[in-house]
Symmetry: D2
Subunit: 254 residues, 4 copies
């Protein structure tokens, strides 16, 4: 019988907030609004707390939990945390996952369909109460109102990232958050555009100039009006086409 | 005279928490404990708040502030924030900077000296009161106590990162935080080791086995005993040599 | 009818080696040796050549090709290139894809099974002849022979990456390349190890010390003996546990 | 006296192409066209070959070479390689370094000056003959000719990266390569622009529409006309503002 060194008593009187594993990639299946489910790959962090009396945790049990994952849905994360708490005899469990999520976008004129990738991040925690934080990064197009106003022709524009964060909201699909993000855009972004589509989005962006300050306000307005969403934070970062750095703006509901 | 679009009135009743620039790389000079100063390169975020009445900020003024930077010292960041507040007519200013900082390490037997790079992150904010958050990532060496205990020979060990975070502390040198990080290590890490040094650190690590749970507690004990440090958080992440993922542990002072 | 600007004549006498798209993420299904197929996510580059007479290519057609992908198998990449050549009226087509590929590893004592992620890279090209380059990065464990020899106890060890590259080989499964990589290791790497497994791999690594120089030679020997493999290059990079930089060695068959 | 394990004989008949260290960050001073010299931070790879008879190399000597670096100038890299060859008794030495290099840009109307960061990469090799490869990444602004032509107003534009690679050229300053890159741009990129500058570059970009195909050809023409440059390769990658992927084009002189 091999000695359980992790199970030794600890006398340093230092409880751990988190102990666990990070940067574990694992294929997952997530709920998809349109198609039922979608396959993707996530980078996982799994952790529990550790009381001051115990020296260590049992790391292999975190990986064992991943082996039993079924289709992942935000509301199902709570049971994963319950399993972690039980298997690791902990009072608190935490899970983070980062993954690309693909939504289908339809080009505005040609109707061509293609996938667009969003970066998603979930952080779920449970002591007694379950808490869920969701962040989705939606690529959008912004066109500078100042550049348009002062220039005789054209206006600088660029790809931007709208980062929408919510906490403990009712069930909100990633597709719905993406739609809110596009409310702040000069135009949405697509993976496949034919020439008539390109004309359309170019003119749409020119007709809808938005600073990062505007974009973030428009998105925040959409989020504020959604009854399911309590706390939110919105950040828009634009990869300025006239600079080698980014402009950004952020609104956070108190 | 070109129209000031940013200066327009805004009626959306949405004040911005932050508006500014990100990912601007800039060469800097920072205070160095041993040599007076050191040249390095930082990635900057600079931002201010924006009241709900104003449409936008003037982004070029953030860059202008960087042009006038002298040697950077934590205590001097307040005056940069004051300048930002004044130049952008803001109530709040924020600055983040990430940069590698080099400390000289002396090999334990041969006495050979070489530089070791630490990742540093500062976040300074000021509304009325100045607030400074510092994070330094120190590479350390950890050797697994369980692996040593149960194996007839050897023990798996690996490079780990100790991340030390403090907020509103008295003046603490990055070199001092690095020294605290090494208290949690099985052995420190060096850029240049001759054979007698390699023997020394191998034996030192074997004699000092540390889980991430141990490492983080030892570092937290050192930080807790330092009168200059109020709030702290310590995280140790080890790039497990037997896995393709990392183990981590975290202690945060309430 | 919108004007075809890309189709204009060009008089600069500068043929393009490549024109196309990069950094397009797309979910894929790849052939899996054990399970038939596996879902993952790839980052794609797709390109063709462009003769000097033509101003531009039609970027949307690259994305359209991705929409029709079925299950991906190395030998099936040729038909994707043929489609690209045809749809874009090109003489040459090129495709690169990076994706994590998961293999199941069985722990040496407990028999526990869990997935291990490998970084894979394919580059396929076709003018008249089809050419395929494959690179797979396999995480391994290396233990330093010098450290073991000179130290009274223990030896420093670490995670390393074995990068195996082959070109125009016969059909070789990624699982087979992973097995060759492990021939160079002090021990393989697993995602899930129970205590008896940890004892096993610790002792295995201590009994099999390997410099990066040794590891790369052992892997090259395995590759040289495989009749299906013509050209190869092997690189092993170890994240030295006693340093904050990596050691590496590389062998390339002429 | 500690045993020299690296110095043992090897019987596997496998000479190594490269053995050395990677990912070592080190502060450097490089020659600067305008100011004489500039401080920055590099990521180094240093390696030598290893004959089949020898088991290993002495890694600490690579780091020792970095300690003695003076101001770095492309033509001075040869002597570093000579030192590596001598100190490691090798026939071949190789050095790679990646670093940000800052050039001062002057805004076109206001005359305001600010730094712009370029990513630079050197690879120097020497067996008998010294060989030097230089790559510089210059951020530029591209505006789509198709979007301009077909749209009633505006045109999508974005930040792009022009990657200029040369090998064994005569002395060419990074500033000169940056100037060639801007020849392919719809407009140059600046860190600090006042309103009249923004008007200027917006109109300049609108008046100078460039596909990546155009940009790469214009830059290649500039490089082809430079007598100091033999081999070159130019790639332009644009972060398309209407997509979440990049468009790219590449020309390589045979």
């Amino acid at each position: 019988m091999l000695k359980d060194v992790q199970g030794q008593a600890d006398f340093r009187r230092m409880p751990l907030k988190h102990v666990g594993i990070k940067n574990l990639r694992w294929p997952i299946v997530v709920k998809d609004k349109a198609k039922g489910e979608q396959h993707t790959v996530a980078n996982f962090t799994l952790a529990v707390d550790l009381p001051q009396e115990l020296r260590g945790t049992h790391m292999s049990r975190f990986v064992a939990v991943l082996r039993d994952l079924g289709t992942i849905h935000p509301s199902g994360l709570e049971s994963i945390l319950d399993t972690l708490k039980e298997n690791l005899q902990a009072k608190k469990a935490m899970l983070e996952m980062d993954f690309p999520y693909f939504i289908e976008k339809t080009a505005p004129v040609s109707g061509e369909k293609a996938l667009l990738d969003l970066n998603c991040h979930y952080r779920a925690e449970k002591t007694d109460k379950f808490s869920l934080y969701i962040c989705v990064e939606v690529p959008i197009h912004t066109l500078c109102p100042c550049s348009k106003e002062i220039s005789s022709n054209g206006a600088h524009n660029q790809r931007a990232i709208a980062k929408l964060e919510i906490k403990n909201a009712g069930m909100v699909w990633l597709e719905e958050l993406a739609a809110m993000a596009e409310k702040g855009a000069s135009a949405p972004i697509y993976s496949l555009l034919k020439r008539p589509d390109e004309k359309f989005v170019t003119e749409q962006a020119y007709a809808t100039p938005r600073f990062v300050e505007d974009a973030v306000r428009e998105i925040a307005l959409a989020m504020a009006q959604d009854k399911r969403i309590g706390w939110y934070r919105v950040t828009v970062e634009s990869m300025e086409s006239i600079h080698n750095h980014d402009a950004f703006a952020c609104i956070e509901r108190d």
